[in-house]
Symmetry: C2
Subunit: 290 residues, 2 copies
Amino acid sequence: MTATTLHRPTHRDALYLLEEAFGDGRMVTLFGRCTVDYDGRATSSLGPGDRLVVCKPDGTILVHTDEKRKPVNWQPPGCTHRASVRDGHLRVRSERSTPTERLDVAFERIDQVTAYEVTDRSDLRLQGSEEDLRRRILDDPALVEEGFVPQATERETAAGPVDVFGEDAAGRPVVVELKRRRVGPSAAGQLQRYVEAVDEEFPDEGVRGVLVAPSVTDRARELLAERGLSFVAVEPVADEGDDESGDGDSVAKAEGDGGDDGADAGRDDGPDAGDDAADESDDAADDTAE
Amino acid sequence: MTATTLHRPTHRDALYLLEEAFGDGRMVTLFGRCTVDYDGRATSSLGPGDRLVVCKPDGTILVHTDEKRKPVNWQPPGCTHRASVRDGHLRVRSERSTPTERLDVAFERIDQVTAYEVTDRSDLRLQGSEEDLRRRILDDPALVEEGFVPQATERETAAGPVDVFGEDAAGRPVVVELKRRRVGPSAAGQLQRYVEAVDEEFPDEGVRGVLVAPSVTDRARELLAERGLSFVAVEPVADEGDDESGDGDSVAKAEGDGGDDGADAGRDDGPDAGDDAADESDDAADDTAE
DNA sequence: GCCTAGGTCCCGTTC
DNA sequence: GAACGGGGCCTAGGC
């Protein structure tokens, strides 16, 4: 029995199921009319309404309305769930310390309670992260600029860890900040912080800073320019067009618009819209619902 | 009927319920063994496992495992949900454009499907935000420093909008950056950005920068010091100890350790642990479950 | 435990 | 629509 459900249960019956489920590590959903109160890092209260509440065995609790991706209220993992009946309400309380915070969900009506046995061993595999961009740069440092030689990643400075630290063709220190997506002013400021910190380590060596990302906003570009920092446009994963066959030694083969290299190669991005058209066609479905 | 549930449905029966629910704006949960594939701003794939899937009428979809607050996969509001049966699987697809991205959940086994009618008009009321801190500062500018006169909020600069802009007792421009919680290096960098931008607007006027937050990390404090910026410790909501009875004209009554005012009042925070002890006692419960 | 930064961040607001 | 910054951000990785 992987899913145990009660329809329109009494508060007491719902309580018994919650007792069991919290005890043996099952995940629980409740749906009904409730109010929610939170006190901790901030304080909030939510009047009555129909919501879906999810309690996870790791101590997470989520309160979802019919809108938005974020729960209207929640508690992160590590909390302790407790349920009780009082004042004619089923109350689910989730608490933790460090920081001290508490979430109370009080149901005046419960439409459904379900306890699920969950078995999930699969790990998510994800591509397109900053980590992928880092690997791409280390595989082919010329993507940053001709002659760039990486020397360290996550190199510590007084202002924090630098993504990629190295030397340019002239032997000057180079600070590289990587972003998986289009960057704004904060990334420019971050790079500036690191460059200033490294500059104090290597006085009079002319430390340089390069922001590597798919694209950059106008204001961020201006901030970079004012501070003598560079931008280079690189996607976290290679575009499908160019074959990245080589084993890391391939140097800037088909850079397209071979413009001025070195400092400023930023062009607007744009999703390119070239969606792979070779997916399964929808008309082949047995049945379809929208 | 606010909740319609199918237990161990056939793919086709589940499909019909999804059809109806997507059509009339109901929220849906599915639980069963599925794989998940995502392609859009990044790309991911997740092997088979038991998960809870939530489809909201606003186009949100969430895939939750038994751990963590964040869904392992998701699609934000604005997407279009479609369901179909093919290859012996029930597939729920959620798509959108700008950016183009698609999420596919393929169930090999469905333990339960439920459609909910949701009515929720209540708005969350939350206290302790940066907005609250801003109001507090505007009510009592002396919390920043004696003689501070706020002149504008969200004042635009070349580097972005400044939280509070004003003058100090000597008539010098002051840039104030507010944070509702303990600040790190990025906040120091943000303040520096703004101060530099304002400095170009008012050359030779000695523009000052003040970071206002509950507390500050050591490294951020160093960064501020190196750049001649100040930190002032203020909580987003007044502590329960001091009575903030006055109507905005109260000036720094009981600041506790009346140390050196003006520049650096940073001490470590600590939640103070003084939880209100006047809540309902647990032993008065009708019934309790942990 | 705190610190630091990334994220398919989400989200509201403004332009 | 893009951009910019807040968030009870969450989460991972170091120390």
